[in-house]
Symmetry: C2
Subunit: 431 residues, 2 copies
């Protein structure tokens, strides 16, 4: 059993000063108000949040950071560069790269990552000896980095609506949705590893195959309406919006998360909200990739809970995503305070979207996930505790506890020099 | 004489590895390529940029960070809170607050600040014994923090177009533009302190007084079209846009910088660009205050050079402003690479806008302003040097040299604990 004394903590009912949290076997066993740290307690400085959920990650994209801004272009030309990188990965190099990327996430306060995983097979599509070798590498990477993972194993079958898979995309494809399901059924979860499903997009999964993926018993994620071109192609082929097509396939509902949800009609918003489908916004990616600003407030008001993701990892900083979510709302509406700070924290801690409904709150029975954010840095000095989610950044994260294990202390990861791990893994990926 | 050896440096023609920069009396005396650091040279890690110019600052707004997000509201309700703070300052408390705010800027790589200064007089409008006591406090604060300052002394005479000054605003006003000019004429520049003028806005300076301020011999700044309400009031009163009104008063031209320039017509853009008027964007403020995204690319294409400012200091991070400038372009156009990395660096180093045309480049004769940005952190690892302006942040700034003096080393300011200085100054300001 370990005791953590928090100078202040973000509890379900608000910020409380002097909070003692005890833990046993990775779960919180008590939460009490205690003025001073008892002897033997680990002292956590600043304001302690529940662990953050990074609800949308493509780990290998970390190797693209700072390498795609040389020319102009669009989302689609960026994707060519991304495919070039995807073509180079093998299970060993992916383990090394993902381990470093997940360690960077841990430093930023992430205690669980949702990995939207579609680089399944060898280049050209040949199966590895173990057809889940890449997925296992990702689970191992998270274990090594000290965080939990939900592997959102992604069905990817087509190069576009009515188009065959391209040579770049062959390693993503299982051939059909049944083969995808058979492979996924071989994955074995453990304490820190759960399994979910993903429809890559309505571009990559044909209409007739959608319901097979949607039948998966667990969290279901899908890239939705990130770019206007997807909407146009879907309407042209099916006379339905992507959201309407997913609804027809039975793919919407409370266990589903629509990722991006940028270019929606009012009808789409009503379908998503009315079905309780979640929405995962990735604001720094949606800016970097020139996607646009989606209707976050409207989705929440319609009934969609929000989560946040770092997606392509142009930035790995959940607090920056939360701030960018609110900034996007302000920019598109001319109003401030579109989301209350508590709503932003709810989005930061939406582990439910990854199939860990017990996580994301500092309360008895929850995983002992604690993120201590310093309140005395140049960034946070002077802020009210209740508003620090709008001023802090990953650089202010001091200590991260994941399931009762201290993974980050004084801003240092247990693996040591994560910048060095990243440099080495990225050089190898491009070598 | 001091020698600095840069592992790599951003020179006028691009990134060069192994650069020796020598300095004497605060100016660069040589720049040469040298493989290894000579004995006695100060080694600067990572990529060394010229010093950054923060072209738009209201130092006291730093005390608002993390204190204005409690409710909803608009720019105008935020302004009420800002006036409440402005009403509390005196020369001593302002010196303390601005010193800490400028030290935070130095840590982020700022070597010169443009302070848009309008809190001139005592509450109610009474003159201090020295009517420039507040301006002197700001100049002293910059000196203490180790950076240069251009005091953009701001004419502020009216509470709105055709409206008298309000009680909150009395301490901003000199009564008329001639009185403003007389007071400003008493300011004395020195090595690290230059003087510019500012028209607060077309809301705050009546049409008949504009040309008096515009006649100032030096840099001239003006808040321009930050909010649609300003445009509507100006059109209603004068049948002119704010840009057209400034043009009529002779206030546009190469020594003028239009701050924000958010809500412009194509005619406004042509007037600003055609006259060579600069534009200062403050992207993190324009997001925080729900202003909107201005037409940055169109302004540059029309002939307006860009600069960047942290304005209300919701964020103090020039690299974050540069990234947000490009992100804003991508979000509003659906295209990537709207500004080349070199254009973003040009905006970061636009000291010309503050009346220091000799600064902002690593070349012989320029002030010895050097900002070493680490390339091995979790944020920057793996980035190409040429693109690091899109991945680095203030947290990656290692060393800052201002006019040959090392002000920041290993991320520590010579004043010590800047977070502590900020906390103390902000508590005093609100006490």
């Amino acid at each position: 059993m370990t005791a953590y004394w928090c100078a202040s903590a973000w509890l379900p009912d608000g910020v409380v000063n002097g909070v003692l949290v005890t833990e046993s076997s990775g779960k919180i066993t008590s939460v009490s108000v205690v003025d001073r740290a008892p002897a033997g307690a680990v002292v956590l400085p600043g304001l302690v949040f529940p662990g953050f959920a990074n609800a949308h990650s493509h780990a290998f994209h970390r190797a693209l950071r700072g390498r795609t801004h040389g020319g102009g272009g669009t989302f689609w030309t960026w994707r060519d560069r991304m495919y070039e990188l995807a073509g180079r990965l093998d299970p060993d190099s992916y383990l090394e790269l993902a381990r470093a990327a997940y360690a960077e996430m841990a430093l930023a306060g992430v205690t669980c990552v949702g990995e939207f995983h579609y680089v399944h097979h060898a280049p050209g599509g040949a199966r590895y000896d173990n057809p889940n070798a890449m997925g296992h590498a990702l689970a191992q990477a998270a274990r090594d980095a000290g965080i939990r993972i939900t592997l959102l194993d992604t069905c990817y079958l087509a190069g576009g609506i009515g188009e065959p898979i391209s040579s770049d995309q062959q390693r993503f494809s299982d051939g059909d949705a049944d083969a995808w399901a058979s492979r996924v059924a071989e994955l074995r979860p453990d304490d820190g590893f759960r399994i979910g499903a993903a429809i890559h997009s309505v571009r990559a999964v044909p209409r007739a195959e959608l319901s097979t993926v949607a039948a998966f018993d667990g969290p279901l994620h899908v890239h939705l309406s990130e770019q206007p071109a997807e909407n146009e192609a879907c309407l042209a082929a099916y006379s339905l919006s992507p959201t309407q097509l997913l609804a027809e396939a039975g793919a919407l509902g409370p266990r589903t998360t629509a990722v991006h949800a940028t270019h929606l009609t009012p009808q789409d918003i009503a379908l998503l909200g009315g079905s309780g489908t979640g929405a995962c916004f990735c604001p720094t990616t949606e800016a970097d990739l020139a996607d646009g600003i989606g209707p976050a407030r409207e989705l929440v008001d319609a009934g969609s809970p929000l989560s946040l993701g770092s997606d392509q990892h142009a930035v790995v900083d959940p607090l920056a995503e939360a701030r960018a979510l609110e900034h996007g709302e302000r920019l598109r509406t001319g109003k401030r305070g579109r989301f209350a700070p508590a709503e932003l924290v709810a989005a930061l801690t939406a582990h439910r979207a990854l199939g860990w409904p017990e996580a994301g709150r500092i309360e008895v029975g929850a995983p002992a996930d604690l993120v201590a954010v310093r309140t005395d840095t140049v960034r946070t000095a002077g802020s009210l505790a209740e508003q620090i989610v709008l001023t802090a950044s990953a650089s202010d994260v001091d200590t991260v506890v994941v399931g009762g294990r201290v993974v980050v202390r004084s801003g240092e990861h247990v693996l040591g020099d994560v910048g060095g791990l990243l440099t080495k893994a990225i050089e190898r990926a491009w070598a």
